[in-house]
């Protein structure tokens, strides 16, 4: 591992923090075409429990398409999906939710007029006796989850419209924890945030890892990626072209992989010309 920061895509060598060799989520040979556009070609993907994977690539590389396939919004033309080694079919968003796969989209999907507790439990309310909402137990549970994630907000009874961007992002993520997520996908979680709020969200992602979740982060911001992720998976033109361990690589080399400057076409080149940083 000394110099070579690139491993083959399906290498099970990754020391998942739970010590289990089988990835929490694994996709093999995923292809997806939209008409004439081959959005994904024979892509493999894996994320382990207690690991944060950064999914990067230029515009149109296929990141969103891959996330949509995992979250059930799109179905792959071919390929297989395994959860803890068991083959699964993700036929729709609700199937993904049932499997413990939760996605936080960029628009966050919060109801601004509802308070934090109501948003966290929306669609999964707890009841005292039918049909009465159990506000006390929901509020306790909300506070517990938010404290695990080290989220600070003025009150869990303010409408989320009063919260900052980082706090709103935190609420959206906390929602996935409440649903007993096992895999959390985050689409550009820091894109719209300032410096301090980005810090909050990166902190949050670390908390998710501590909770033993498998976390996938799509991001354009390599500084953020390098701060929180364990591995970076690079897509280019619908193919997985490289995988880096962040401990033993540099942002320059990732950029090179994204733009295609470093590698002619395919994966294998074993970190050959590590210097070429610009496209």
């Amino acid at each position: 591992m000394a110099d070579s920061s690139i491993s083959t895509p399906t290498a099970p060598s990754r020391p998942g923090q739970t010590g289990v060799a089988e990835p929490r989520l694994r996709l093999t040979g995923i292809s997806k075409a939209f008409g004439a556009v081959q959005a994904l070609s024979n892509v493999d993907f894996e994320v382990y429990a207690g690991e944060v994977v950064g999914l990067v690539g230029d515009n149109g590389a296929g990141k969103s398409t891959l996330v949509k396939i995992i979250s059930g919004v799109e179905q792959a033309d071919s390929g297989e999906i395994f959860l803890e080694g068991t083959p699964v079919k993700i036929t729709g968003p609700s199937a993904a939710t049932r499997l413990g796969i939760e996605t936080v989209y960029q628009d966050l999907a919060l109801c601004d007029n509802l308070d934090v507790v109501a948003n966290l439990f929306l669609g999964h309310e707890e009841l005292d006796i039918w049909p009465v909402l159990s506000e006390v137990s929901m509020e306790r549970e909300a506070l517990r989850v938010l404290s695990v994630l080290d989220v600070k907000i003025p009150s869990v009874r303010v409408p989320v419209s009063l919260l900052s961007g980082g706090q709103r992002q935190s609420i959206a993520v906390a929602k996935t924890i409440l649903r007993q997520a096992r895999v959390v996908l985050l689409d550009e979680p820091t894109a719209a945030l300032g410096v301090a709020q980005t810090r909050q969200v990166l902190n949050l992602i670390k908390r998710l890892r501590e909770q033993g979740l498998a976390v996938v982060v799509i991001s354009h911001n390599l500084a953020d990626v390098f701060e929180v992720v364990d591995r970076v998976i690079v897509l280019r033109l619908g193919r997985r072209v490289a995988t880096f361990d962040v401990k033993s690589t540099t942002p320059e080399r990732v950029v090179a992989a994204i733009t295609g400057a470093e590698f002619g076409a395919e994966v294998d080149a074993n970190g050959s010309n590590g210097g070429g940083s610009q496209s």
Binding site: A109, C111, A118, L122, S137, R140, V148, I153, L162
Partner: protein
Amino acid sequence: MSEAVKQKQPAPTTSVEVPSRLPRPTVGQLLRTDLGFVPVLLTLLVIAAYFALTTDGLFLTPRNLSNLVLQITQIGVLALGSTLVLLLGEIDLSVAAVSTLCSVVMGVLTERQGVSAGWAILAALVTGALTGLINGLLVAFIRIPSFIVTLAASIGYSGLLLYLLAGQSTLIIHDTFIVSLANNYLPDALGIGLPTLALLLYIGFVVFNYMRRKRAGLRTQPLPRLLLQIVTVAVIVEGAVALFESYLGVPQSVIFLTGLILLCWLLLTKTPFGRYVYAVGGNAEAARRAGINVPLIRVAVFTMCSTLAAIGGVLAASRGLAVASQIDPTLLLDSIAAAVIGGVSLFGGKGSVWTLILGALIIGSLENGLDLKSQGTDVKEMVEGVVLVIAVAADALIRRAQARRGR
């Protein structure tokens, strides 16, 4: 685990809620909270004071106030339905037509067909529910904008009720049960007992809730605020009862109106259904992704709105001792105005049901006061138009102020 958890006692509040982080609320935000009713209440008091002064106190006599409350029963019940629909971010322009249609259905059945009052009223309510179901299905599944659907419905039903009345312009209601509905006053025992019982239940619930939150280690309101809240509600309830008792007693129709508002309030604030109504009005896409059956909520709310309109129609027919082919031209706008003046946002997701009483009282006071001053329909309609525009403008301005502050 996290240092936040170790930090202090197990009470989770300490680590998550940091009140100092709350930005100071703007005026616009305050107007959307518990205190939102204050400006409306002040407006009502100003109007009441003006009429009291200019009618030599006639306006504030128990007799007149009692009548005023009877006059706003139909508007109040229709405003309640409108509120539900507005919370969804939709609008129902058919409430007045549906209300009148349902009263005609009831009137024709009892007076011409000899159907008993109970069945006739049931038929009126079912008619209302059906019209609402149709509105709801068209809005929820065909995705036609609600103002078009309900405008078309309104026109269609005003034709239908002409057809049902077969040329007759006014059908007198003789049925004693129907007439008694809105014209009876409760005997003192019930008139004082029922509201007082409800008040005691409310106080019990508030105190129980306070204790329960305290025991669960959750934040509670400061005790003085809690007491103030209880005292305010008690004064309003018992004050109203005293006012009615100093004339003929508590009118039955007031119990219908407040009972319906109470039911809707419970439904909206204490049950998942109510939460979903607010969620759909706030962000329908988020509600859908949360697994909420958005079309079902829409259909249910439109159905409830039209059913309430039917109840309003029955009460109006009872009070007026007749059903008419002419739909009261200001009924629709008055109902929506009562909801909006009461603080329900035209943009969905914000507002509560109790304040519509204030809205209906403002509208009723204008009507009643201008009547006392022997002003004609011309002046009345102009004044009401201005008041409605002011209320809607306030809603839009508050919303804009919030949007500027948001995020």
